[in-house]
């Protein structure tokens, strides 16, 4: 058994942590969110070129370092510590994996682009009526003479406002919630018939509602086998869920540190509030949640290739969703009024953790997936 990072993984963590602590502190992050377009595109560029880390988890054959989910985990924990609003999950974890798993000309052309920072991907797997059910799709793709015609609406596609490509699910057959008949498409973001409504999110990310209005895409837009992509999409989303668990873990650890510091400095009734046992126990509970989040992130990430992957990922995401909510609420409560203002970092961590809970399956969704497996066993 070995839970140590490789030398490369240790370097990745140190490099990214140093970079983010210089460029992504509280004030700098706030001013980035105020920029036109809601972000500083220079950061992503720097991650690709100066730091050269976007290929860490991607195959060597396409110019990556040949790492995998553990490398993404290391990076995501750092993004979480800085509550960075960078599109690593949709672009590298989902987009990069989708391309690597389906191979072919798209992979050859686009993975190097992801690594160099020129290709940014938004992933649209969810629809307004479907909550977290990846098969609940009304978006359709019909084969026409020159390729495919897409119609439909994708919910809250993170990074879509500045993405070069969109990776979306659509029905090429089957009925609304059927497993069969789901296909995966890679669409150029500026293709005709792709309409977006862009908006900022409460956690600082940018996202869009994406509408396909008779969007014609070429025959090569189809990734993987027609009508059989649900399994692939579930794999991609499980990878994304684990990357977000890592991000949550980083954010939870940092928020715990911030709260611990605050409780040592803040004085009421003639002593530091951290001297009160009720506060001490709460800080211990937060610590225990952050530790368990670390464990579950590691467990789920190491088991992404396990035959029982869905079980392990759902355990991890459910546990972390619940822990993130508790830790976030306790952090705010311990800070008191200042915790609900935009003036201190703590509240911003709380906001991001709250939204992580709602992405790639909430607590109930993952518990439901686990319970189904219990009954099926």
């Amino acid at each position: 058994m070995d839970f140590n990072f490789t030398e490369t993984q240790g370097m990745l963590r140190d490099t990214l942590r140093r970079y983010l602590s210089d460029t992504y502190d509280f004030d700098k992050r706030a001013s980035m969110l105020r920029m036109d377009g809601g972000r500083d595109p220079g950061v992503w560029k720097a991650l690709a070129t100066e730091l050269g880390i976007l290929g860490a988890a991607l195959p060597e054959a396409h110019g990556g370092f040949g790492g995998g989910p553990i490398d993404s985990m290391v990076l995501m924990e750092e993004f979480g510590r800085a509550i960075a609003v960078e599109p690593y999950v949709p672009t590298v974890v989902i987009g990069g994996n989708a391309l690597a798993l389906t191979g072919g000309a798209h992979a050859d052309a686009l993975i190097p682009g992801i690594i160099s920072g020129e290709v940014v991907i938004g992933a649209g797997f969810y629809e307004p009526q479907g909550r977290y059910n990846l098969a609940d799709l009304k978006t359709t793709a019909k084969a026409d003479g020159s390729g495919w015609t897409l119609n439909g609406h994708k919910s809250v596609v993170v990074a879509a406002p500045y993405a070069t490509h969109l990776l979306v699910s659509a029905r090429t057959g089957g009925s609304q919630r059927e497993s069969a008949g789901v296909s995966l498409f890679l669409v150029e973001a500026n293709a005709k018939g792709v309409v977006r409504r862009d908006y900022p999110c409460v956690d600082g990310y940018m996202a869009s509602e994406v509408y396909f209005e008779n969007a014609n895409v070429g025959p090569h837009a189809l990734l993987g086998a027609e009508g059989q992509a649900l399994g692939l999409i579930e794999t991609l989303v499980d990878h994304a869920a684990m990357a977000q668990c890592a991000e949550a873990t980083g954010a939870m650890k940092k928020l715990h540190e911030l709260t611990l510091d605050y409780s040592k400095q803040r004085k009421q009734f003639g002593k530091a509030i951290g001297d009160f046992q009720v506060i001490q126990h709460r800080l211990v509970d937060m610590f225990m949640e952050a530790e368990q989040a670390t464990s579950m992130t590691l467990m789920g990430t190491l088991r992404l290739d396990d035959p029982d992957r869905a079980k392990w990922v759902s355990q991890a995401k459910a546990k972390i969703n619940k822990g993130a909510r508790a830790l976030g609420q306790w952090a705010v409560q311990t800070h008191g009024g200042i915790g609900i203002t935009t003036e201190l970092a703590a509240g911003h961590y709380f906001k991001r953790l709250s939204i992580i809970e709602t992405q790639y399956g909430d607590f109930d969704y993952h518990m439901g997936r686990l319970e189904e497996r219990l009954l099926a066993a």
Partner: protein, 402 residues
């Protein structure tokens, strides 16, 4: 023991219900339904209508403009108001400084301030908390020094208050200040009424997590306050503060508003899909949480009714009201958690930052627009009005004798 309303009480309920239905301004209803931000006049409109009817301050003694209602009638009125989701009169005047003034004030103070509080013409804010004095309110440092100028006595006030709700609109504020820095904590504090237009007062906004401007910092720089604006004796302001805190806690349970909140939650969950072809309310996980929440609310409701019955038989609001505050705020917060869960993927979009014009394509269901900001905002309820930790301390000390 009898739970049913008497025929007179039922008739009273119908009268209240009809009055609200006939008089509640339609434009307010519209703004509330749309989740639009309310301006100063919006927040006062219903107060002014109630004042004309003589219903603005049900709990006040009749001689000062109260209604003379029984505790049960007051309960009915607040239930009906919550059901109809009226915008209640702001608490700072009617529930807070008003009772302090009619209990401790001079005849001149009563004559000067009570009519404006009652009518809603004068907007009050509360200058209690300071950056260094939150839960430990008695450690406040804002200093008031007594001076004599041209034969008149004044206080010169210096310091900083914080979390001052809606001070941006306020005409007057009631402040706790330290008049004797040598005295022990609670001693040496005085209760001052300060005209917010006085030179030396600066109000600075604090923006909270949902993007709201609800609270402010209030800076006082050599603010000159006539001594006759002090309520009760010098250095005895803590008596007023304690009295006010007890008043602030009654009604803080928010039972009727939470009932309405759960009704709305159920309507939302009925309309939303759970992703398996049924409504979210039909989803066993979700409906269990709603059922549990309703159960807890019933427990709170009957605990509050017992407290009310105690008050009706002459007991003032006691430390038991801390229980109502803790459980009431927990329920209010849990409602917002479930609304956030119901929003699902649509919890993320942030509408306050959106340009108005670009609404050709809707972004998720309407309720989701306020789900996350409300969830964030309602974390305040377990912090304000004496944090829930402080409420537990009160129960431990005053009820359990620990």
């Amino acid at each position: 023991m009898d739970l049913a309303f008497s025929p007179e009480e039922t008739a009273f309920r119908d009268e209240v219900r009809a009055f609200i239905a006939e008089n509640y301004p339609a434009h307010l209803r519209g703004k509330q339904d749309e989740g639009e931000e309310l301006g100063r006049e919006d927040m006062l409109a219903w107060h002014r209508i109630l004042a004309k009817k003589g219903w603005a301050a049900p709990a006040w003694p009749k001689e000062y403009g109260g209604t003379g209602w029984t505790a049960t009638q007051r309960y009915i009125f607040s239930e009906e108001s919550a059901k109809a989701e009226t915008i209640p009169p702001l608490p700072f005047g009617i529930n807070m400084v008003g009772p302090v003034i009619y209990t401790f004030g001079t005849p001149e103070q009563k004559a000067k301030h009570l009519p404006g509080i009652l009518s809603g013409d004068v907007w009050w804010c509360q200058g209690y908390s300071e950056p260094g004095a939150g839960s430990d309110l008695a450690s406040l440092r804002t200093r008031a020094e007594r001076v004599t100028e041209d034969g008149k006595d004044y206080y010169i006030v210096n310091g900083q208050k914080t979390w001052t709700t809606l001070a941006q609109h306020a005409d007057w504020g009631f402040f706790l200040v330290r008049t004797d820095p040598g005295a022990k904590m609670q001693e040496g504090i005085s209760f001052l009424l300060i005209d917010m237009k006085s030179p030396g007062i600066t109000v600075k906004p604090i923006i909270t997590l949902g993007g709201e401007h609800e609270v402010n910092e209030v800076w006082l720089d050599n603010v000159k306050v006539p001594v006759e604006n002090r309520v009760y004796e010098e250095n005895k302001g803590w008596t007023c503060a304690k009295f006010l805190l007890a008043h602030e806690r009654t009604g803080i349970a928010g039972v009727a508003r939470s009932k309405r909140g759960i009704e709305k939650l159920k309507a939302i969950a009925k309309a939303e899909q759970d992703g398996t072809g049924q409504s979210l309310l039909a989803n066993p996980f979700f409906r269990r949480k709603v059922a549990e929440l309703e159960t807890d609310l019933t427990a709170l409701e009957f605990t509050e009714l017992r407290t009310l019955a105690g008050e009706a038989s002459g007991k003032g609001p006691g430390p038991e009201s801390s229980l109502l505050k803790v459980k009431g705020t927990e329920i209010q917060q849990r409602i917002t958690e479930l609304v956030l869960e119901a929003a699902g993927n649509y919890a993320a979009p942030y509408f306050r930052a959106l340009p108005e014009a670009s609404n050709e394509y809707a972004i998720g269901p309407d309720f989701a627009h306020r789900a996350a900001p409300t969830y964030f905002n309602m974390r305040k309820t377990s912090i304000y009005g004496g944090s829930n930790e402080i409420q537990r301390n009160i129960i431990a000390k005053m009820v359990l004798g620990l």
